[in-house]
């Protein structure tokens, strides 16, 4: 019995965090955000050296072949740095979809290129979670017509995996669609709206009349978003604590006032158990498959709630400075806000958790 990280896992996370600390500090995040660059080439390259893009891709396809837990540790580091990297969809969700539902030819064509960082895939499954407006994609003679909204990593991608209205997943080239950027509060990641008008596509055969690969892909994405929020919230908490130790008013550091100290303690008390929840949810994907959907839902929903609390409270501890652009806290605030809504806002995800444990019918 060992509930914790191995030495290798700790080293992996330290190396990614260490790299981001130097190569993707706040000044770099600012530059990228100002240029609407959600995939700065130098950071992407540097992460490729560490194997980030291929973390869950099987070794046979040139990946590192590690588990969701290692992938979550990286997501946490990326969230901690508010790093502009198309990670969640391209590096984790797409390989899960391709591994579980792709044909041999599709896996051969895409997985090695994803793992090397050469290809970036956007993933658009939102309509299978909760359709907004009249989005959705129909299929006729293998061609796609309709819209996928909120395609994750969509502006960095050259190809998308989108779900049709029956839940089957398809590969479609960006060039065969009409894509436009949806500008969000979070300038560190891209989201696209993808319109298809009889677009050529390739179905992932394992996802036809079998919802499991799509659900597994969504689970993986949710765990990554939860881990991203964990990292971002931890950074905000750490910054609030160090600000409270430095900032002086009334001839003393403000962290000595219980009003401020208790806000910090409440953040720590809420956030620390989240780490264990994310670890367990990620570990369960392989080790406790019977629980994994429920745990992915809870990780996503609970981190969304705690993340929001920490984001606003840490900002508040900084007083007026927290509200300005000067400290850049808002990059994490917005990152957490973004994570919360993607792949199902908390109420939606909790309802799925009720279904996953048989409390109600789907």
């Amino acid at each position: 019995m060992e509930f914790g990280l191995t030495e290798e896992q700790r080293m992996l996370q330290e190396s990614v965090s260490g790299y981001l600390g130097s190569a993707c500090a706040l000044t770099r995040v600012r530059e990228a955000a100002a240029a609407s660059d959600t995939k700065p080439a130098d950071v992407w390259e540097g992460l490729a050296q560490l194997g980030v893009q291929g973390i869950v891709t099987p070794e046979d396809y040139g990946g590192v072949g590690l588990s969701m837990l290692e992938a979550a540790l990286i997501a946490e580091s990326l969230g901690g740095a508010a790093a502009p990297v198309p990670y969640v969809a391209s590096c984790v969700m797409a390989p899960v979809a391709l591994t579980q539902a792709g044909s041999a030819a599709q896996r051969d064509a895409w997985l090695p290129r994803i793992a090397s960082g050469e290809a970036v895939l956007g993933v658009g499954l939102t309509e299978q979670i909760g359709r907004r407006e009249s989005a959705g994609i129909g299929v006729e003679d293998g061609r796609l017509t309709g819209r996928a909204m909120f395609v994750l990593d969509g502006m960095d991608a050259d190809t998308f995996i989108v779900a049709d209205n029956d839940g089957a997943m398809h590969l479609v080239r960006a060039a065969d669609t009409d894509r436009r950027a949806l500008k969000t509060i979070d300038r560190t990641r891209s989201v696209a709206e993808v319109a298809c008008d009889s677009a050529t596509a390739e179905v992932l055969p394992g996802s036809v009349a079998n919802r499991e690969p799509l659900l597994a892909t969504v689970d993986a994405g949710r765990i990554m978003l939860a881990a991203d929020t964990l990292g971002a919230a931890q950074t905000m908490l750490d910054q609030a604590v160090s600000y409270a130790k430095e900032r002086r008013q009334f001839n003393r550091v403000i962290g000595s006032f219980q009003a401020v100290k208790h806000l910090c303690a409440e953040m720590a008390a809420a956030l620390e158990p989240c780490r264990s929840l994310v670890w367990y949810a990620a570990h369960a994907v392989r080790a406790v498959p019977g629980e994994s959907r429920l745990m992915a839902c809870h990780a996503k929903a609970h981190l969304s709630e705690v993340g929001r609390f920490v984001a606003r409270t840490a900002t508040e501890v900084h007083g007026g400075m927290g509200f300005t652009d000067l400290l850049g806290l808002h990059y994490w605030f917005k990152r957490i806000g973004f994570d919360r809504q993607m792949l199902g806002a908390p109420e939606i995800v909790r309802e799925e958790a009720a279904v996953a444990q048989g409390w109600i019918e789907a």
Partner: protein, 396 residues
């Protein structure tokens, strides 16, 4: 990550389960009040023989005498909780470890065996009316007169004092020393002349706490544990056990399952509560918190197995666990609506009014054992390294 306990421990778990299946029916009710009774003592004796109580207390002091094994202790606690069978005890989980660590051999031989057997019951004399969160400011005096301490003063919040045979008590013996260095730790019989116990009725309507008054209570000087002026450190040697105990995640899980049953069985206009999205969402929010605390508990357990101090994951257990239990009780009451306010013997009452009882008692637990605000100070100062509040000089 390795969630398997391994063959040895799985076998141990099977043994515990088999024991509970066979003997669980002989256990006394979960919470018995009053003087120790024959059934409780027999149950405790059986548990000690099997190694499910007083497990690591040496045999010569009436225990089972096993080597400490965090995982086995965890399995025992988990299985007893699951079976809802009253677990064994080591007599008093603060006093016995304190005596084992710091008592004289004479004190150990005199007090540990009857305590472990459940024949000698203890109460804790720490809090005072003017020394709650600031416990070290306590003012109950003990002055040495010949070879006896003479105690005068008052304690409050003394659980079980009306049934206890003995008290372990913090008293001020060195009034001129700094507050933490002027305290001593004494043991004495509750039958000693000059002790008066007055029940303190709480909001639940019960009197599980007491006020205890001391008027010229004479206690032999040999009844001190540790040296004069070291009582604060003697008490703190084991205070950490109590803090870890409140907010145990097992309790939240049991409550949660009870609430799920209630959501399925209680109806409004003939529809089960589980069909109401607002109730469901609230239940799911609590489940998310509970799971996070369950896995946090597993993380603490892993540290404990390796003999490591878990740090922050442990500092938050009392604060979060007590709050979560309180919220669960509040939710159960809300699920019942009008039925939720029925109390003590009313027609239509659910679970004998248990949830109202818990809702109030839990508030007591949020306050007791170090208030939520004291917990936040500890988290802020010890785990996050924030500075202490500036001391205000004593007022003239």
């Amino acid at each position: 990550m390795d969630l398997a306990y391994g063959e040895e421990y799985e076998r141990f778990r099977e043994e515990v389960r088999a024991f509970l299946a066979e003997h669980g029916k002989d256990a006394p009710p979960q919470f018995s009040r009053g003087k120790s009774d024959a059934q409780s003592r027999a149950w405790q004796q059986l548990l000690i023989e099997r190694g499910y109580a007083a497990r690591t207390i040496p045999k010569e002091y009436g225990g089972y005498g096993a080597e400490p094994d965090v995982l086995k202790a965890h399995i025992i606690a988990e299985e007893f909780a699951k079976a809802r069978v009253r677990a064994g005890h080591i007599g008093d989980d603060r006093l016995v470890p304190t005596l084992l660590e710091l008592g004289t051999e004479e004190q150990q031989r005199a007090y540990i065996p009857p305590t472990v057997r459940g024949e000698m019951r203890w109460c804790q004399g720490y809090s005072e009316p003017n020394s709650g969160s600031d416990l070290a400011s306590l003012s109950t005096r003990a002055e040495l007169d010949g070879d006896e301490f003479v105690i005068n003063g008052q304690k409050i919040w003394t659980s079980g004092a009306q049934h206890a045979d003995m008290m372990f008590c913090l008293v001020r013996t060195e009034p001129d020393a700094p507050k933490h260095q002027g305290i001593s730790y004494l043991l004495f019989s509750m039958d000693t002349p000059g002790i008066e116990v007055r029940p303190l009725v709480t909001m639940t309507g019960d009197a599980s706490f007491n006020e205890v008054f001391f008027t010229d209570v004479r206690v032999p000087a040999s009844q001190i544990v540790g040296r004069r002026g070291e009582g604060w450190y003697v008490a703190n040697a084991t205070l950490k056990h109590e803090r870890g105990g409140l907010g145990d995640p097992n309790q939240a899980e049991t409550r949660f399952l009870h609430i799920v049953d209630m959501m399925r069985n209680e109806t409004i206009d003939g529809r089960p509560l589980m069909e109401f999205p607002a109730y469901r969402d609230r239940l799911l929010k609590l489940q998310g918190q509970m799971l996070a605390m369950r896995f946090n508990g597993m993380r603490i357990l892993s540290h404990a197995i390796k003999g490591e101090e878990p740090g922050l994951p442990r500092w938050i257990v009392k604060l979060n666990g007590c709050e979560m239990n309180h919220q669960m009780a509040g939710m159960a009451i809300d699920l019942m609506g009008e039925l939720g306010v029925l109390y003590h013997g009313s027609p239509h009452i659910r679970d004998s009014g248990l949830w109202q009882q818990r809702y109030m008692l839990d508030l007591g637990l949020i306050i007791g054992g170090g208030t939520a605000q004291i917990q936040k100070n500890l988290i802020g100062e010890r785990a996050l390294g924030l500075p202490k509040e500036l001391k205000v000089p004593p007022q003239a």
